[in-house]
């Protein structure tokens, strides 16, 4: 296995692009904060420029990304607090690349496409400032390769989200925002102690000095099995709350439902991925043995989340709550793929993180549009919209089918890879999880039927058709949904090397072979390999 350290220096632009991804939105937020309160339209302009510039940089990053390279690219490394061995260490690999891109694209769309429902235009200022800070924090979390830095950004994200939900949300917003903040902070409390313990224990076992550098610790530290499991537990709690893994999910329906549309889009689109990304980057990579040891628990919770989320979603009366519970189910798939410990399943998980961000982000956007028109999210009060707004209904249909995972759209590719990959190593869990796919079709199609079919009654007869600006915002989502569904190769070829290297790292450290699944019904290694090759050919 090639050392990640050696691969680090490969791709570089001679321009600290990753640092700029954090600095540009942060500076944008600062400028918005300094603008005069009397010019709300300028604030939106500045926010647009900052977020579009960031988005353009992420596109550039994706274009320049070295496809065959599994290591971290565009690395930027500077000492920050040398006393504690803390550095400004950033880098992207195939696992984080598309999450960075997704963040870069979602934010301009959320800023340009969705107006905050403000009575007072002066309140635009904090709204856009918080959104930009949120973008900087999320970017920072995805590109940090230093445990301290990651924790800092992971925590920073909470504050703007708290204010966005609390300040611009719906009826129960303060309650939802507080619940969200406290849940996540409880998780972070465990992670903080775990991070420090990791650093100190690692410095005595293999690393040699006190450093918060992720790569150094992951490559050199030798934790005793029981120590590693405790440390992993600390990280895992924080990420499990963020994902959220059943039964820690109860903050999510509240937060999603009460958040303003832009908040929901960002929350579902990228913030939940901090959890699943963290599990991969800091769970599996740092503590392979502990992660592998605890896989049965994770797989079980993931499968429970899939079925439970789907069943509860079926019964929701509130359209936004339905989408929120569908997130619980979808993220269950991602966790399932992560802890299947096969290259395919993890690749599928990474893909699904992006796919879920696109499709659920778009769903929240559409639900937000419905709310703007009808001022209700109750399914029972909506009826027959298809006949008055056919284009709107078509857009909803495409996004919904992507969320269900219909072949030819993006959701299928990720979910299929997860199920196939996990089938090799976790067959019976997959059997149960597959029912989640059927249930997803059930609750989404049923909701579609109730909202869009039939004859529109008095209130729904005036439902306005998709406006040009709304269509312009939705178009990129639908474009990605169709493109990725038809031609996933550009994504897969960038994700796969990094995932393969991660799996190799886990195999080496945890002492098992991914192709030789240990549970519950082992398949012979060569057979598994055949099947894996076969699947790759298909994609």
């Amino acid at each position: 296995m090639t050392s990640l350290l050696a691969a680090e220096t490969s791709a570089s632009l001679g321009f600290p692009i990753l640092s700029m991804l954090i600095i540009v939105p942060a500076v944008g937020a600062l400028i918005v904060a300094l603008l005069s309160r009397r010019r709300p339209e300028e604030m939106k302009l500045v926010a647009t420029i900052a977020s579009v510039a960031t988005g353009a940089m992420t596109v550039w990053l994706t274009v320049e990304f070295d496809v065959g390279d599994a290591g971290f690219q565009f690395v930027s490394q500077h000492p920050w607090i040398e006393r504690w061995g803390i550095g400004w260490h950033l880098g992207v690999d195939g696992i984080s690349l598309f999450l960075v891109l997704l963040t870069g694209i979602l934010f301009p769309l959320a800023i340009v496409g969705i107006d905050p429902h403000n009575d007072d235009p002066a309140r635009n200022k904090p709204y856009f400032a918080w959104l930009l800070i949120l973008e900087a924090g999320i970017m920072g979390s995805f590109v940090s390769l230093d445990l301290f830095l990651f924790f800092v950004f992971f925590e920073v994200v909470l504050v703007p989200m708290y204010f966005l939900i609390g300040g611009w949300g719906y009826e129960g917003r303060v309650h939802a925002a507080t619940k969200f903040f406290l849940y996540t902070m409880i998780g972070s409390a465990f992670m903080l102690v775990s991070i420090m313990a990791t650093v100190f224990i690692a410095s005595r076992n293999g690393v040699g000095s006190v450093t918060f550098d992720l790569v150094e610790i992951a490559e050199n530290a030798n934790f005793a099995a029981s120590t590693g499991r405790w440390l992993f537990f600390g990280f895992a709690v924080a990420f499990a709350v963020k994902v959220p893994v059943f039964p820690l999910h109860t903050w999510l329906p509240d937060a999603h439902t009460q958040a303003p549309t832009a908040g929901s889009v960002v929350l579902a689109g990228v913030m939940l991925k901090l959890g699943t990304y963290g599990l991969l980057r800091f769970g599996l990579y740092l503590f392979p043995e502990a992660a592998h040891w605890s896989r049965a628990l994770w797989l079980t919770l993931a499968v429970v989340g899939i079925t439970y989320g789907a069943i509860v979603a079926t019964m929701q009366k509130d359209l936004k709550r339905l989408v929120a519970y569908s997130s619980v189910a979808h993220l269950g798939f991602i966790v399932l793929g992560t802890f299947a410990f096969t290259g395919q399943a993890i690749t599928g998980s990474v893909m699904q993180m992006v796919n879920h961000g696109v499709s659920t982000g778009a769903l929240f956007l559409l639900v937000g549009m419905i709310y703007e028109r009808r001022h209700t999210r109750q399914i029972s009060e909506l009826k027959g919209i298809q006949s008055v707004a056919p284009i709107f209904a078509a857009a909803f249909m495409i996004v919904m089918l992507s969320s269900i995972g219909v072949p030819g759209l993006n959701g299928f590719v990720g979910e299929y890879l997860i199920l196939i990959g996990a089938f090799l190593s976790a067959r019976w869990w997959v059997v149960v999880a597959a029912t989640g796919v059927i249930l997803a079709a059930l609750y989404l199609l049923w909701a579609y039927q109730r909202v869009f079919h039939g004859e529109p009654d008095e209130e729904n007869r005036t439902f306005a058709e998709l406006k040009l600006r709304e269509a312009a915002v939705l178009l990129p989502f639908i474009g990605v949904i169709v493109f990725t569904g038809v031609y996933p190769k550009p994504m897969l070829e960038r994700i796969e090397p990094a995932v393969e290297q991660l799996v190799a790292h886990v195999e080496e450290k945890a002492g098992f072979t991914a192709a030789e699944p240990g549970s519950p019904d082992p398949i012979p290694a060569e057979h598994a390999d055949d099947e894996a090759d076969h699947e790759e050919g298909d994609d």
Binding site: E155, F163, G166, L182, A189, F190, V193, A197, F200
Partner: protein, 505 residues
């Protein structure tokens, strides 16, 4: 006949090394004497003299810092005071906090028609007491410093003659504080009985030089117990905290800020001097006690804070919770106390926390003072409703302080909390570290409640815009800038704090 032969040996006086204390005492005396003999000074001049005094003292302490790092540590006045970076660090902390409090006090006094030299003189005297406590190398000197600080604080707490709550706070603080001082003094006596000296260097020597034959060190252990009670009262650790909410709420807000910053810093400095410096040989006896105090302070302080409705009371309970955090650092310092070589990060994390918390808390109370005055002395949560609409800059300042108290990254509070938790984890005190973090989350709810009031709830119809006088505004601004600056570039401060483990004795 005999009298002629006796030459009284006076200790050598290192005037320059004592200059921060001399500056403080000189300033206080000047204010009292000249202030009493001259007619009323022009507005702001009392405050200016006071600010210049503490500013000078703090500047001298900074100048002395290099002396310590260049020439090494030592003791002054025949071993009465220690001359080390620990004492200089705390001197700077106390002077900086006093400076900020003086800025807040100026406006407070003039608005209530109480302008005069007395309050400033008392504050400087109290600061002197705090500096002596931090530098004491003798338990009696430490007690003198403690009493100087405490007596001045009793009077300050009661200094608002127009409000009975202030009088009540003064009396409460005085009765309970006197009680605690008695415990502390008795503890000193017992330690003296057990070791034969009150000088910290000699106390250490007595442990090093003698072998405990019959295993009976009950005198010293009883002394430690009483000392911990006295110190626990001063730092407001649960279960010695009951005075805190009442006194913090009743005292004038500027005095509350002073007690929460200078009072706490000096008390923790004394705790480190007594436990870590003087009694490291009994570290395994006192460390579990500190552990329990930390646990109780964290949990009870945070839990009671969130059910309060008065912001001053909330901040009082939150100060108890912060005391718990600092005790986590003291506990960490106890693991390797008295050893040679690497002593761990316990002491540096405590002094860093003290400095950062002192600035934070003065900033918080400064905003509370402005809002409370506007609302006619009402400091309940309702008075803060809609502050962001009336005074966005003030609300932003308050938010910075509250986020810092909650320990959000890029604020100094994060650096402070990170420091103590790291010190605890380094010593493998995982349990208390996790408890501390969970308590921080509980406390975060409290800060969120205040932020919700300021930002998200509409202003009451009748509420007027708060007046922000220049001096208080300056205090809030500089505290907020410092809070953010250290949150982003903490390296220099951590390096400075790291030297405090090279203490003199």
């Amino acid at each position: 006949m005999l009298a002629q032969d006796i030459t009284v040996s006076t200790p050598e006086v290192e005037w320059f090394h004592l200059s921060p204390i001399i500056a403080l005492v000189g300033g206080a005396l000047f204010l009292l004497v000249v202030g009493a003999l001259t007619p009323r000074w022009p507005r702001g001049l009392y405050a200016f003299v006071a600010a210049a005094t503490v500013g000078t003292a703090g500047g001298l302490a900074m100048a002395l810092w290099d002396d310590v790092t260049d020439q090494g540590t030592g003791t002054l006045l025949a071993g009465a005071l220690a001359f080390d970076t620990f004492s200089q660090f705390l001197t700077i902390t106390i002077c900086a906090a006093t400076l900020l409090v003086v800025l807040v006090t100026d406006d407070e006094l003039r608005r209530t028609g109480r302008d005069g030299p007395e309050v400033y003189a008392l504050m400087i005297v109290a600061a002197t007491g705090g500096v002596v406590m931090a530098a004491a190398n003798d338990l009696i000197v430490l007690f003198l410093g403690l009493e100087t600080l405490s007596l001045a604080l009793y009077v300050l707490a009661a200094s608002d003659r127009d409000r009975t709550t202030s009088q009540e706070a003064g009396i409460k603080y005085f009765v309970l504080g006197g009680f605690a001082s008695a415990f502390f003094l008795y503890g000193i006596a017992l330690v003296y009985g057990g070791t034969g000296s009150t000088n910290i260097g000699d106390i250490i020597g007595s442990f090093q030089g003698s072998v405990l034959v019959d295993g009976n060190d009950s005198l010293v252990l009883a002394g430690i117990a009483l000392l911990v009670v006295g110190l626990g009262f001063k730092v407001a650790a649960v279960p010695f905290h009951v005075w805190t909410p009442d006194v913090y709420q009743g005292a004038p807000t500027n005095v509350t800020a002073f007690m929460a910053s200078v009072g706490k810093a000096a008390a923790f400095a004394a705790m480190l001097r007594v436990l870590v410096v003087a009694l490291p040989f009994h570290r395994d006896d006192w460390r579990p006690v500190i552990w329990v105090l930390a646990l109780l302070s964290l949990v009870i302080g945070s839990a009671l804070a969130i059910v309060q409705t008065d912001v001053k009371r909330m901040l009082a309970y939150s100060s108890i919770s912060h005391a718990g955090f600092i005790l986590v650092g003291v506990e960490a310092a106890g693991h390797r106390a008295g050893e040679v070589g690497d002593l761990g990060d316990g002491m540096p994390s405590v002094v860093t926390y003290l400095l950062l918390y002192a600035v934070l808390t003065v900033g918080s109370f400064a905003v509370v003072a402005l809002v409370g005055r506007n609302a006619g002395g009402d400091t309940s949560l309702d008075a803060f409703r809609g502050l962001a609409q009336r005074r966005p800059a003030l609300a932003l300042g308050l938010t910075v302080f509250l986020l810092a108290q909650a320990g959000v990254p890029f604020t100094s509070g994060f650096v402070a909390k990170w420091g103590v938790i790291q010190a605890a984890v380094e010593e493998e005190s995982y349990a208390i570290a996790i408890i501390a973090m969970v308590a921080a989350v509980i406390a975060a709810f409290l800060y969120l409640r205040i932020m919700v009031s300021t930002w998200l709830e509409p202003s009451a119809e009748a509420a007027e815009q708060e007046a922000v006088p220049l001096s208080t505004g300056l205090a809030v601004l500089s505290a907020a800038v410092f809070t953010l600056f250290v949150g982003i570039w903490p390296g220099w401060l951590l390096d400075a704090a790291d030297t405090v483990t090279q203490y003199a004795r």
